[in-house]
Each structure stands twice: as C-alpha cells, then as structure tokens.
C-alpha cells in the first residue's frame, strides 16, 4: 500500500487527487445543472495543504455565514464529504428549485420546506460526486444521510478540521468551486478522506 504522509506528498499524488476532485465535482456539477436547469461551470480543482490557522479563511472568512452539508463516509473510504455554499447562493438555489414557493425575503431564515430542499440538493450532488469517485476507484463508499448546518464558516469547518487534527497539524482538502454564468449559484465541494483512505485511493489507482 502506498505510504502517505500529508506533509510529504509528491506532485504525482497531488495530481491524482486533483483529478479525483475534477471527476467527482464534474458529475456533481452536471447533476446540479440539471436540477436548476441552468449552465453551471466548475473551476479547476485545488488540492491544498493548509494549516488550521488558515482554514477558517477558506470561504470568505471565518465569520462568513455559509450553509454546510456534511456526510460521513464508511467502508472502503472513510472520512467526510462536505458541500458548502454561501447563504445568498443557497437562497438563489432554493428559489430556482421551488419557484413561487420560495421566500422573496433575502434576509429571512429558511423555512422548513426550504431547508428540506437544500438538504435534498446536497444529497443529490454529493451523491453524484461520490458515485463517480466510487466508479473511478472501484471502491465501495457508504455515505450517511446528509447533515446540515447554517453558521459561521469557521465553526462549520472546525468539524473536518478536528478530524485532521487527530492525524496531522495540517488539513488536506480537495476543493472545487463552481458557479453559474451570473455567479449567483456557487459553492465548494470538499472531500476529506482519512489518512488510511488516502493510501487506499492512491493504491486503487495504481500508485
């Protein structure tokens, strides 16, 4: 099995992880695009090794309010998958999906119905991400139900950060940003495998 140390990953391993982000997010973006019936573009995935101190600033600053959807992963790949979007983007997405049933008020809290729609969006697109990852690596991935929180980015990112804290002083993120032409609908996918799962993923791809 490929020996993986987060601090000592080589370029080849980074490239493979970036490609995983590419394929996973590519499928997820397609699913999203079909759901909202609009063209959604994806940026080139980034693989970042970040210090915890920097992590909070990832999505518009630690105090930026974001909608976070988190699934825990089991079986061949252990870890977490997160889908994050800014609150304004989540509002737009709900409006596109629910039409007249969505609230017009920008600053209002989400209704039960809107929260449920957001959770379903998260479910479908993380599902698309994970199923393509599973096909690519030929590994079984069992995801939990999606958990959702709307809060400060720093607080939400503390959850995966703590998982990384157990194995390293840094966090490795496979991060993909997407947006539609008007940048109304944008967000981030973050895949957070455990250290052992990194080895398994790389091994399954012949590294």
């Amino acid at each position: 099995m490929a020996e993986v140390k987060l601090e000592q990953m080589d370029n080849m391993q980074f490239d493979v992880l970036r490609e995983i982000g590419n394929i996973g997010a590519g499928n997820a973006t397609t699913a999203l695009s079909q759901m909202i019936n609009a063209k959604v573009d994806m940026k080139v995935p980034k693989v970042d090794l970040l210090e915890f101190k920097e992590l909070g600033d990832l999505i518009g600053g630690a105090e930026n309010i974001v909608v976070g959807i988190l699934l825990t992963l089991e079986e061949d790949i252990d870890g977490m998958m997160m889908f994050l979007m800014e609150k304004g983007a989540a509002r737009s997405m709900v409006r596109v999906m629910m039409g007249a049933y969505a609230s017009e008020d920008e600053s209002a809290d989400f209704s039960e119905m809107e929260l449920s729609a957001l959770q379903e969006i998260g479910n479908i697109i993380t599902g698309a991400y994970l199923s393509s990852l599973s096909t690519l690596t030929n590994m079984t991935i069992v995801a939990s139900i999606p958990y959702m929180a709307i809060d400060m980015a720093g607080a939400i990112l503390s959850v995966p950060a703590i998982e990384f804290g157990k194995i390293s002083d840094k966090a490795l993120l496979i991060e993909t940003e997407f947006g539609d032409a008007t940048e109304v609908v944008n967000g981030y996918f973050i895949l957070i495998p455990t250290l052992d799962s990194y080895s398994s993923i790389l091994t399954s791809l012949g590294l």
Partner: protein, 161 residues
C-alpha cells in the same frame, strides 16, 4: 483604542490592555481565556482536541486542551501574571451537526469542554463563566481591561460573560 489580537484554530496568544484578543468562528473547538484580574494580563487558546496523549502527531501544543492550557499558563506567567490570582472563562464546544449516531468521534465538542474543565481543575484555576455546548458557532472577544468576554453568534444578540 487598542488593537485586536487574533488567535487562529489550534493557536494561542497573550494580550494586555488596551488591546483585546479574539478568536473567530469557534465550532466544536473551545476557546479558553486565562486572566489575572489584578495585573490585567490575559491570554487565549483555541483548542481542537481533548487529549494530546491519545494522538501520535502532536507537535502543535495549542491543538490540545491539556498541552494548550499548560503552554498558555507558562506564557502569561512569563509576562508577570500572578499564579494564585488566575481565573478563566471558556466558550465553544458546540455540536455543529445533529449527527444521529452514537459515534463518539463526532461528539468532540462536549469532550473538549470536559477536558478543558478537567485541566483547569487540575491547575486549580477557577472557571468564572462559560458559554458552551449547544449547536451554534461563536466568535469571542476578551477585554483584559474589564475582564469581559463577548460572545457573538449568528442570529443571536451579543452576550457578555
């Protein structure tokens, strides 16, 4: 007006008046303030995990409740804080996602709070006030001049403890 000293995740720092010290977006992590009210010397640590002895890779002492509090104590004593006058205030340790599972791994917030309190009790530093648990994030600011700890959360009024 003083400046605002920032403490990141798994980080610690010290602060004297007229400055204030802050950490942004505490989730399941816990922010611990140690404070000497007579000399107005303070410090803050943002801990992520309860116990350094359970983890192999622990070069960053500020990451853990046990080693983080010890290091912060050392730093504020070096600044001239009086050991017997020290008090503390703590905040954070939320459970950000409502996991429907018995998996202890995901309930790290409450374990962090317990570990911080155990360490402070061991060091005989009283906890004057706390705002911990529940399910939302907190930004905290400590003012050594007054000894006030401000807690800001999304959609909630600012709280002073």
């Amino acid at each position: 007006m003083g400046t605002m000293v920032k403490v990141g995740m798994a980080d610690l720092n010290v602060c004297l008046p007229p400055d204030a010290i802050t950490t942004l977006g505490l989730g399941s992590c816990v922010g611990v303030v140690l404070y000497d009210p007579t000399h107005k010397i303070s410090g803050m640590v943002h801990v992520m995990l309860p116990d350094s002895t359970k983890i192999r890779n622990n070069e960053n002492v500020a990451k853990f409740a046990d080693t983080g509090i010890e290091e912060l104590l050392r730093k504020i004593l070096a600044l001239g804080a009086s050991r017997s006058a020290l008090v503390s205030k703590i905040a954070g340790g939320a459970q950000m996602f409502a996991f429907r599972t018995d998996n202890e791994m995901l309930k790290v917030g409450s374990r962090n709070v317990d570990a911080v309190k155990a360490k402070l009790a061991e060091l005989k530093i009283p906890v004057l006030a706390e705002d911990t648990g529940l399910n939302y994030g907190r930004t905290i600011e400590f003012y050594p001049d007054t000894g006030n700890l401000l807690i800001k959360s999304v959609g909630k009024p600012t709280k002073t403890i």
